[in-house]
């Protein structure tokens, strides 16, 4: 058992446990905080995979923005300071069975391919985990410029759309010029 294996097992266990608490927690704010633990666990796994730029982007985007947005949404969408009513469907057992069936199918697929079970990754090509290559690839016309630009248009559309949707209905009349 090398140190890296122990680190992976601990992080993986924490991430999974946090994921289970996300979907099982009766209080939604607790579920949001467990989601943050799960996201942080995934960031640690990214570091283990030598993708440290993606790890910090994960923390900044997911934990620093999306998780806070989710917490705000949870706090703004309840009438009293406590959750009311059951938090899961009456047919949650059906959901559990389908999730387990899906898990079984995925595991069967994964364990079938012998190449996946080989220990150890192939050699790491770049010393900076591909950071400079990532930067050039995103703006290179022959490589990934188009997906990059489309993603930025998507973000702009989401920004404008979210503002337009969440605007209070009478904001157009009050507070005008």
């Amino acid at each position: 058992m090398t140190v890296l294996q122990i680190v992976f097992l601990v992080t993986g266990f924490v991430t999974l446990l946090a994921g289970v608490m996300v979907v099982a927690s009766p209080k939604l704010v607790h579920a949001a905080l467990w989601l943050i633990v799960s996201l942080a666990g995934v960031a640690v796994l990214f570091v283990l995979l030598n993708a440290n730029f993606l790890a910090v982007v994960q923390v900044v985007v997911y934990i620093g923005a999306i998780a806070i947005l989710i917490i705000f949404a949870v706090m703004l969408t309840r009438r009293v300071m406590a959750d009311t009513g059951p938090t899961h469907n009456p047919s949650w057992w059906l959901a559990l069975i389908s999730a387990l069936v899906l898990l079984g199918g995925l595991l069967a697929l994964i364990l079938q391919v012998p190449a996946f079970a080989q220990a150890g990754p192939t050699a790491q090509p770049a010393a900076d985990s591909g950071l400079s290559d990532l930067g050039t690839a995103l703006v290179d016309v022959n490589r990934f410029l188009l997906p990059f630009e489309v993603a930025s248009v998507l973000l702009l559309a989401a920004l404008i759309g979210a503002m337009a949707i969440a605007r209070p209905a009478d904001a157009a009349e009050e507070g005008g010029e």
């Binding site: 979907v23 799960s38 959901a95 595991l107 996946f116 990754p121 591909g130 990934f144 920004l159 949707i165």
Partner: protein, 102 residues
Amino acid sequence: MIPLSWYLILSALLFCVGAFGVLARRNAVGILMGIELMLNAVNLNLVAFWRYLTPGLIAGQVFTLIVFAVAASEASVGLALIISIYRRRSTVVVDEINLMKW
């Protein structure tokens, strides 16, 4: 060292946990949290494959970055929709949002 299958199994588990959350939760924000778990599982899968099979091709990391951008936009629009629904119906329990018009 850590075999690739360990990462894949972990991401499969995380994906199924997220799928359970989407299917079993009653609150719309709870469903969105399950979706975020699934997207994270997908990202983990992508980066694991990049690292183990094709570390020379940067396409794995680019794909993950695009998934980040998509997840961010989907979360923001989804939460804006949920807040807007809450303003009209005073509820975000998906069982109660089952009428198109009054």
